[in-house]
Symmetry: D3
Subunit: 163 residues, 6 copies
């Protein structure tokens, strides 16, 4: 590894690391993303009291399908047979949309990247649908909230557990 | 359109909007993403004075390739024949990595989404390579900085021009 | 060509035919697919009076995204920059769901296959979501209803115009 | 689940359902599709007594490759490592082509969708190759004929076993 | 550019070069690949006098479909709307199979990579089908034979024109 | 099988062969490719004493990502969850670049095709980056060097072990 980066060998060259000897366990990760937008944009997307229209479903599907493309997007990710993917979208105040994505597998490596890709793609799809009315939206706070399974142990993001 | 969202028709149903009558012009967009990480992580990725190893190149390629997959990731995006894609990665202080992605086309619709997807995929790929040493990294401030070409006119993000 | 099949050369070998000299025109095609199912299945999918849930949006998105993958699925199809894709889903009596898919491009070849792929993928996605409650569903009557643009002239399916 | 649809949660939101606790068993599905066409079209595709040309091989390959893309086409399908795929194409009278597709896996979920996607893509590919000589072809009777493996038990389509 | 490599900028960073100002012209490239194999392998693939079986059609389709994936495989290639792709496979003596692939587009950049990818994928697919009977096959002499269209002028491989 | 080709059934029709009853073992393959080029091209790619620039990293990533797409490129390949992929690139004299690709899996079928696809895509990517300065490059000697795991036993290419 180079500079502590496990995906680079001693010469600094990228590779997909060998996981052939790791245990097959149930693995799960939850990631989030947040969109900061105008109040009118949040209302347009979330649908107010009526919740009509396909906006949320389209974004959810985009996140789910993106999770399945993770190893095609992130060069050094192993291909993983996901056993579950879900995406939740909710308003978090008047100017924020909060996205949670959960990925699970029974395999030899973790699914943080799959959860992060799902959350990011969901956010980008909402951005795409709303960009004509709000070009200055920002996608923020993409991070892993929880992770379980595997040798490196369980992880819960500190700032989260304190809330 | 529903609630101002152009990607939904009057019944709230998602579709890829008709751009067949829009003008073919040169279009360009620049997007950014930011990674907040531990100082040691920023050093491991950016390589300090030595800049050795593939980390930045891998992330750059991931961003560039992701830009070409935009219409496969974002459900209502038109497929676009990109004429240029580039990605820049630099340290921005001790705990931040700043990514800029530029996309261009000669076509009937803009390339904000391609630039945003490139910036996001670059950030996620850096996250993947460094996650073994810093699980609490956050990807933030994904937004469009500039956009030109097309009927809706040029756009420069206000907070940017004030800097 | 072999046996009248334009996609095979004189020796019977498959190729992607040369369209480099064809005119660039606006091209449009509408295709349909039909699902025969139990009345309870049609109600579960179409949502009765309430139309709640993501089922229709998921199927619509699947059809739209599949249209963009047509040249990746159908070996001898040219890659086409689609300018519009839409999918409509409606109940047609108690035991039938009717799907219409529309594709458009400004290019050198038609978009029948894109419309057919969208209609088929929409139907298959509805099948997937409902198969746990109705394994005996059948997808039928996949055909092109209308086609316009290009040298071969406009086409409206006879049985349709007679209805 | 919503309205009996397992792919929607209690709020009607789409997700990829958790199969992490399902048994790993050998699973198999057979699906069919049928093309109704002019007699001359059936002859052109099936090749009469001579069976020359690539038409059937191209369609077979398209079906096989599409089966491997099922989880990329059908939003809520799990990615599945297929252990076998085959496609058979035969004339069924003067105006019909009959397609059977078989998919197998050793895994935690069934392969009906893979078999259905293979049969559909085979039919669509034959349509593509013959559309210049017969625009009014129809693809019909896409359904699952048999299914085995998994908790829900074996299934043979009633109308089939009666024939 | 770095060291004469146009795909790297002055800092040595990879990018997709800007072709937005290049002329739209008809562009064509022909590439070859060669497989060296045991005589029995060449006979098994080429079919001898009978030419039965799908082997050549499968390899041809693989080459054609791979050409359409070129910009997804080669990181710095522009996505190109191909207007024609064809692949020819013939025996060249008792121990060699010779593959020619032709790609065409009307666009702003050349199609050498598309032709090379088609020829390579055709060869790899033949290898896959024959590897159980001949593990020591070698794929050689992959190169561009001809190229036309675009500012850099026409090119015919010298060694070829001398033959 | 037809003419000894396992991927064709008795009628000569292509299929993905059934591996459902094969043992799950650790499988590994090493493949090579070689690029013959002008001395200046080898220097531009390999970077001389300085090894600066992204060229090698881009090619390495292209090979690694292509390995993950093998079952999408080679029609009759099974999809395989790779557990490791690496690519090495070195100069071999003044006019040759030598590429080694290693692929590993724990599964029911071998990974020769994944290693061969990785080596080929690495070579094609180097070709793409250098083609503006050396159009007459040739990619040669693509072959499997070693293979282990599975019923057919280990294999080391004879010409290699003699060196």
């Amino acid at each position: 590894m180079t500079g502590g980066l496990t995906h680079l060998n001693a010469k600094g060259e990228a590779h997909i690391v060998d996981i052939g000897d790791k245990a097959v366990t149930q693995r799960r990760a939850v990631a989030q993303a947040r969109i900061n937008a105008l109040p009118a944009t949040v209302t347009a997307i979330m649908g107010g009291a009526l919740k009509k229209g396909d906006a949320l479903a389209v974004a959810r599907v985009a996140g789910i399908m993106a999770a399945k493309k993770t190893s095609d997007l992130i060069p050094l990710c192993h291909p993983i047979p996901l056993t579950k993917v879900s995406v939740d979208i909710e308003a978090d105040g008047e100017t924020t949309i909060l996205i949670h994505a959960t990925a699970q597998t029974t395999g030899q490596t973790g699914v943080e990247m799959e959860a992060l890709v799902a959350a990011s793609a969901t956010a980008l799809t909402l951005y795409d649908m709303a960009k004509a009315i709000d070009r200055a939206m920002t996608i923020t706070d993409i991070c892993v909230l929880e992770k379980s399974g595997g040798k490196s142990g369980d992880f819960t993001r500190p700032s989260l557990s304190e809330k």
